[in-house]
């Protein structure tokens, strides 16, 4: 009673932009750096954290075992896990808002099915484009463009579709179609090839080369910034398409923009690491619940950080828990993601 409305308003805004949030972001950033270094330090050959730091900072690239491990194996893998996780998480967040559905991620529009199909063509169907053997890099490019082709098809529908739900169903249908085609290829493929293909579909950040990492950075970072840049219309979108429209958002353009940004982010990761399950679905919820806000200007940076941290931890677990064998990343993220998603569904009152 004694508080004037004006006073309340200021506390409200302070809650969003200072105090608590600064602390949370500080902690997240520290955690990210720590997890990143830990990922490089832990493995079959343990390297102490200070040594890891010095190898990276001083750019020691001599003949020593440790520097080779750091620079050739673990650093590219960690960078890709962090960046890949961020990209998938933000893509998932955007799709959750776009479809106004708390349990979608960026794979719902068939992006992963697209790259899976292309990979199946390469790995199982024996498509070599006239070359005797395909380089890994070339295959990854193929998977990336496969995802983009599917996205392009979806975009054609997006321009026609009346509502996001229609689009969601179309996306699911196209995904099934791609899966069906993949299934046909698998039926006729040799067992050995199927196993290799299955491992790819499970996803892993293993074996990332600097060439691939460079591509991931080159695509991922600008598109993450693009996602940040549309946080204002994304906020408006939370109220629904019609409200967004009435406030001046160009819906058709915005739909295409969201699908494009989100799909490129997803495709880049999927092409190299395979589909990474649950990060896109669970991480945005974690960010929302920790920051207790739906404001995308805060949520997107938080999702980037959470996505990086959680994926890096999952990757670390994947390659250490049953070493020397490696689990695929999706198994770990699923074990981690499923309970969270179930818990969130049971507490839906405040979700999304």
């Amino acid at each position: 009673m004694s508080l004037s409305p004006a006073w309340k308003v200021t506390t409200q805004q302070q809650r969003l932009f200072s105090g608590n949030n600064v602390l949370i972001f500080g902690l997240l950033l520290t955690a990210l750096v720590f997890v990143f270094l830990l990922n490089i330090a832990i493995g079959s050959i343990k390297i102490s954290l200070p040594e890891v730091a010095s190898i990276i900072i001083n750019r020691i690239q001599d003949e020593s075992v440790n520097s080779t491990i750091v620079w050739q194996i673990r650093l590219p893998r960690s960078v890709s896990a962090v960046l890949g996780g961020s990209a998938i998480a933000v893509a998932g967040l955007m799709f959750q808002i776009f479809f106004r559905n708390p349990i979608v991620d960026s794979y719902v529009l068939g992006v992963s099915s697209g790259s899976t199909l292309i990979m199946a063509l390469f790995l199982l169907g024996g498509f070599t484009m006239g070359m005797s053997t395909l380089s890994h890099y070339f295959m990854f490019l193929g998977a990336f463009f496969g995802a983009l082709i599917i996205t392009a098809v979806i975009l054609l529908f997006a321009y026609k579709a009346r509502s996001a739900v229609t689009l969601l169903v179309i996306g699911l249908m196209i995904g099934y179609l791609c899966s069906a085609a993949t299934g046909v290829l698998m039926t006729f493929a040799e067992n050995e090839k199927v196993k290799g293909f299955m491992i790819w579909t499970m996803g892993s950040f293993a074996g990332f080369t600097w060439e691939q990492v460079r591509l991931l950075i080159f695509l991922g970072i600008p598109f993450l910034f693009l996602a940040l840049a549309i946080s204002k219309p994304l906020n408006a979108f939370l109220l629904g398409e019609d409200y967004a429209k009435s406030m001046g958002v160009n819906i058709k353009l915005f739909r295409i923009f969201i699908i494009m940004v989100s799909s490129v982010l997803t495709a880049a990761v999927t092409a190299f690491a395979g589909p990474v399950a649950f990060i896109g679905m669970a991480v945005p919820h974690i960010a929302r619940l920790v920051l207790r806000t739906s404001d995308n200007r805060v949520l997107i940076p938080a999702t980037i950080l959470f996505g990086g941290i959680i994926t890096a931890i999952c990757d670390l677990i994947a390659r250490t828990i049953v070493a020397p064998t490696e689990l695929n990343i999706s198994s770990v993220t699923s074990f981690f993601g499923v309970p969270i998603v179930i818990w969130l569904l049971l507490n839906r009152r405040t979700v999304l």
């Binding site: 409305p5 004006a6 309340k8 308003v9 200021t10 409200q12 805004q13 106004r100 840049a229 946080s231 204002k232 906020n235 408006a236 939370l238 109220l239 629904g240 019609d242 409200y243 429209k245 009435s246 406030m247 001046g248 958002v249 160009n250 929302r288 207790r292 806000t293 739906s294 404001d295 200007r297 009152r349 405040t350 979700v351 999304l352």
Partner: protein, 413 residues
């Protein structure tokens, strides 16, 4: 100033499937316009079309003289704001956040609120009496509170026109009235044009400047509520055949088509409650002798029962008296509603007295003292009732009474 004009507008969701055709409206600044019509008549389609959420199939819409299809969305959002029926899930947004979203067209690239913006958002919350809700999560508010916040959000756009699709649906009476009062204030104090659709036709006709009646793909009528909102037009608009609408009283009454078995002697509004109670319980009745334009007379006629009338301010004449007497004889119970008695309706007293003398059962709502004064010793023969429902217990002999008893028996067994 002309705010909105439509010329030969045809609206619909799909090509060649017009929902409403030939809409020619001219709406001035600050007017309150209400679209009335049955479900599915196309009210929402019209509202969506004039708020540029749906492209018109034919014809043109002009807002402030500009062709709507040529106005840039961003500019339009500063002229026009909407409150829609769809429910929204605002996640972790508080009521303040949702309202602040209305500042969208006025804020910069990242939508950061300036001190001025915040002040305006608070002002909008103040206008809808929702300052106290500012810090609560939108999703946790009641329907009525949510609607107020959505209204505040629309206001935060600082529009010159607000379009609301059924703004009172799902709201309780208090919030209904509150929303309508806010809309009225906006139009009168801020000169904002308000266009809405409404199902509460009584509320609508009492609050709008222009009522637009829509039925079967056409605008049936359009004009001041006094002109277009008459009893017949409303009944025809909604195809109501089980109830009547009284434009004078602004009420809707359920028809009573049961065989008359009770005669209610009313006047000065004393009988209205009893009419409704009897109708509710499906007891047929006839009533008299009422002066035309007496409240009771309006209600009785709307309910559709036989009503014996006399001209206003005239003494009850012999003709009306005889008519009432004949009707009364046929009934099983007479009800004296406790109407005030003066010279012009003294015949009603006589009517009751003679019924007593004829040995008819008479329920009375008056107390004993008053009855003694009016009917002398005959007062002892009367059945005393405290409330309207007491009368129902004495409706035995009437068809309904047995029906009720049978039903109760079967329910009990």
């Amino acid at each position: 100033m002309k705010m909105l004009e439509t010329i030969n507008l045809t609206v619909g969701h799909e090509k060649n499937k017009a929902v409403v055709e030939g809409i020619n409206l001219e709406i001035l600044q600050g007017q309150i316009i209400c679209l009335l019509g049955p479900n599915g008549a196309g009210k929402s389609t019209i509202l969506k079309s004039i708020s540029a959420l749906l492209a018109p199939l034919k014809g043109a819409i002009y807002i402030q003289g500009q062709d709507l299809s040529r106005i840039k969305r961003k500019n339009l959002s500063k002229i026009l704001a909407v409150v829609l029926t769809e429910r929204l899930n605002a996640g972790f947004f508080t009521a303040f956040d949702v309202t602040a979203m209305g500042r969208y067209p006025h804020t910069g690239f990242l939508g950061k609120l300036s001190a001025e913006d915040k002040e305006k958002v608070s002002a909008c919350l103040r206008i809808v009496n929702a300052e106290n809700l500012a810090q609560r999560y939108y999703n946790e508010l009641s329907d009525g509170e949510k609607q107020k916040i959505l209204l505040a959000r629309a206001l935060a756009q600082e529009p010159e026109m607000i379009i609301l699709d059924e703004p009172t649906t799902h709201l309780d009476v208090r919030h209904k009235l509150e929303v309508m009062a806010i809309l009225k204030r906006l139009s009168r104090e801020k000169g904002i044009t308000v266009i809405f659709s409404l199902h509460e036709i009584d509320l609508a006709l009492k609050s709008c400047d222009i009522a637009v009646l829509i039925k079967e793909g056409k605008i049936v009528n359009c004009g001041a509520p006094e002109k277009v909102g008459n009893t017949k037009a409303v009944a025809a608009l909604y195809d109501i055949d089980c109830a009547g609408f009284n434009a004078f009283m602004g009420t809707i009454e359920i028809f009573n088509s049961a065989e008359p078995s009770v005669f209610v002697v009313g006047g000065a509004g004393k009988a209205t409650g009893i009419y409704r109670m009897l109708t509710r319980n499906n007891v047929g009745f006839c009533t008299g002798i009422l002066h035309e334009n007496d409240v009771d007379c309006h209600i009785a006629e709307t309910i559709g029962v036989v009503t014996v009338k006399e001209k206003p301010f005239h003494n009850i004449g012999l003709q009306a008296y005889r008519e009432a007497k004949n009707l009364l004889k046929e009934t099983l119970l007479v009800v004296d509603t406790g109407f005030p008695i003066a010279e012009s309706n003294s015949s009603n007293r006589k009517l009751v007295l003679e019924a007593l003398q004829d040995g008819q059962r008479v329920c009375t709502m008056r107390d004993e003292k008053e009855n003694k004064l009016l009917y002398g010793d005959w007062a002892d023969k009367m059945i005393y009732c405290q409330s309207a429902t007491d009368i129902l217990q004495h409706c035995n002999g009437t068809q309904t009474f047995y029906e009720c008893k049978e039903r109760m028996k079967s329910v009990n067994s």
